[in-house]
């Protein structure tokens, strides 16, 4: 926040000196009347799993107070909907004063693939935090992402890269049965909560090749941390 404010103030000073050099004669000593300059961010998410397509990504920019999830707390229904079925609309529909911008991925990001989203922040003078979430679709309720990542300190051309671990929404037991895995044509969202009902890190896929004979998943669906790499670049 401080950094961007500072940059903004510097931009104003530069503009003021240009004006006075042109002899415009109008002096603006306040500086609080100029409209904020939008900031654009490139958000790139790369899927580094073996065989876990990532559901359409949900990107939120928000103020410091908001978190999309917290380890040890129950998942919101919106996050449960994303983590169990891959649908991101409810997460993006967050109707909250803290929301500053949002973006949705165009589609699933396949293993080895990446997607870049451009997000415009209309008023970058406020503290800005980023939350990104996407489901590992060959699981019961695993998702990866980050919440509350500060990006306000990024100046023009700077980028930050974060390795993303896998979380368990805690809303659906990790049965790995065929009718429960959306990536295997099984059920997506179900409001019933059949697991711990708190968000944790994910224990990983077991799979039929590793002793869970009833699992529809196999060794190819296993993953480790990180599952995705996130790069945020401020492009202007």
């Amino acid at each position: 926040m401080n950094n961007i404010k500072w940059n903004h103030a510097l931009a104003f000073v530069t503009m003021a000196s240009v004006l006075s050099a042109c002899g415009s004669g109008s002096s603006n000593s306040g500086g609080d009347t100029d409209a904020p300059t939008p900031a654009n961010y490139e958000i790139t998410l790369t899927n580094v799993t073996s065989n876990q397509p990532l559901s359409p990504v949900a990107v939120l920019m928000h103020s410091q107070s908001y978190r999309l999830w917290s380890v040890g707390s129950p998942a919101s229904v919106a996050l449960e909907t994303l983590a169990e079925g891959g649908a991101n609309a409810d997460v993006l529909a967050l109707d909250d004063v803290s929301k500053q911008a949002m973006a949705s991925g165009a589609g699933a990001i396949m293993p080895g693939a990446y997607e870049t989203l451009l997000v415009t922040l209309d008023n970058p003078t406020t503290a800005t935090y980023l939350s990104v979430s996407t489901m590992l679709v060959n699981t019961n309720d695993a998702f990866t992402g980050v919440t509350g990542l500060s990006i306000a300190d990024l100046s023009m051309g700077e980028s930050a890269t974060v390795s993303l671990g896998v979380y368990d929404a805690g809303t659906e037991v990790n049965s790995e049965l065929v009718n429960t895995i959306p990536g295997q044509m099984g059920e997506g969202f179900n409001a019933e909560r059949t697991d711990t009902n708190v968000v944790s890190r994910h224990p990983g896929v077991v799979g039929s090749d590793d002793g869970h004979s009833a699992s529809v998943l196999d060794s190819r669906h296993k993953f480790d941390n990180p599952a995705a790499i996130l790069t945020v670049t401020r492009v202007n």
Binding site: T196, P203, G211, H212, F223, D224
Partner: protein, 232 residues
């Protein structure tokens, strides 16, 4: 406050010297289904290690990793080190946090932490001699699961007799979500040094199979804990 202003007044050239710090700690069990036994936290000088990957576990670390007892770690802590024990007042359940407020590290510069993971034979969460920052602020450290290398990972839950050092078997699965009647995953270990834990194998048979732990519940991926250190 007095100490903080002292630090600020010191020239940068001395910034690596040892200054007393008071820190707040928050440790979160990040796992989905593993409990932590009582946590041992120790602030010590550079060059001291509670445990080290690639080295033999001390008998105190063995007692912690096989049975959850930190009594020997506390009584055997390095002279001049500062200890905080059992901030969770017992087990730290999955996804739960425990706090240590105003931990005075004395003149110590490094921080270590251990707690056994249940149900495992000799698995523990560990932080090995992390240098405490001199600058006030909030720092986040992610912790991995280690294997003490002192007991075969048979994954058989035998009850409290499995706790004392040298006894085979896992003492307990506090979540009440494990099986019985397992034949055992293995009876030997290759690496007798402290090393990164390979993870539980488990199975889905609650009345037999090779393991009493449940592969759908009692596995983990690193990191298994998050430590937030607030330097005041």
């Amino acid at each position: 406050m007095k100490l903080k202003s002292l630090v600020l007044a010191m020239p940068l050239a001395f910034s690596s010297a040892a200054f007393a710090q008071v820190v707040d700690l928050e440790i979160t069990n990040l796992t989905h289904g593993m409990h932590f036994t009582p946590i041992f936290i120790n602030a010590h000088s550079a060059g001291t290690h509670v445990f080290e990957a690639g080295a033999t576990a001390s008998s105190a670390v063995q007692a912690m990793a096989e049975g959850g007892s930190i009594a020997d770690l506390v009584s055997g802590a390095a002279a001049g080190s500062m200890t905080s024990e059992n901030p969770a007042a017992g087990l730290l359940a999955p996804s739960v946090s425990a706090d240590v407020m105003n931990f005075d590290t004395g003149s110590n510069t490094h921080l270590s932490l251990t707690a056994m993971l249940l149900p495992t034979n000799d698995g523990f969460v560990g932080l090995n001699a992390w240098e405490i920052p001199q600058t006030a602020g909030t720092y986040t450290v992610y912790l991995n699961a280690y294997d003490a290398g002192t007991e075969a990972n048979d994954e058989i839950i035998v009850g409290m007799s499995g706790g004392p050092s040298g006894n085979a078997g896992i003492p307990a699965a506090p979540g009440g979500d494990a099986g019985t009647g397992a034949t055992g995953v293995t009876s030997s270990e290759t690496n007798a040094m402290v090393h990164i834990h390979r993870g539980n194998v488990g199975d889905t048979d609650s009345n037999g199979g090779i393991s009493d732990v449940d592969s759908r519940i009692h596995r983990w991926l690193n990191p298994v804990a998050k430590l937030v250190v607030t330097v005041k």
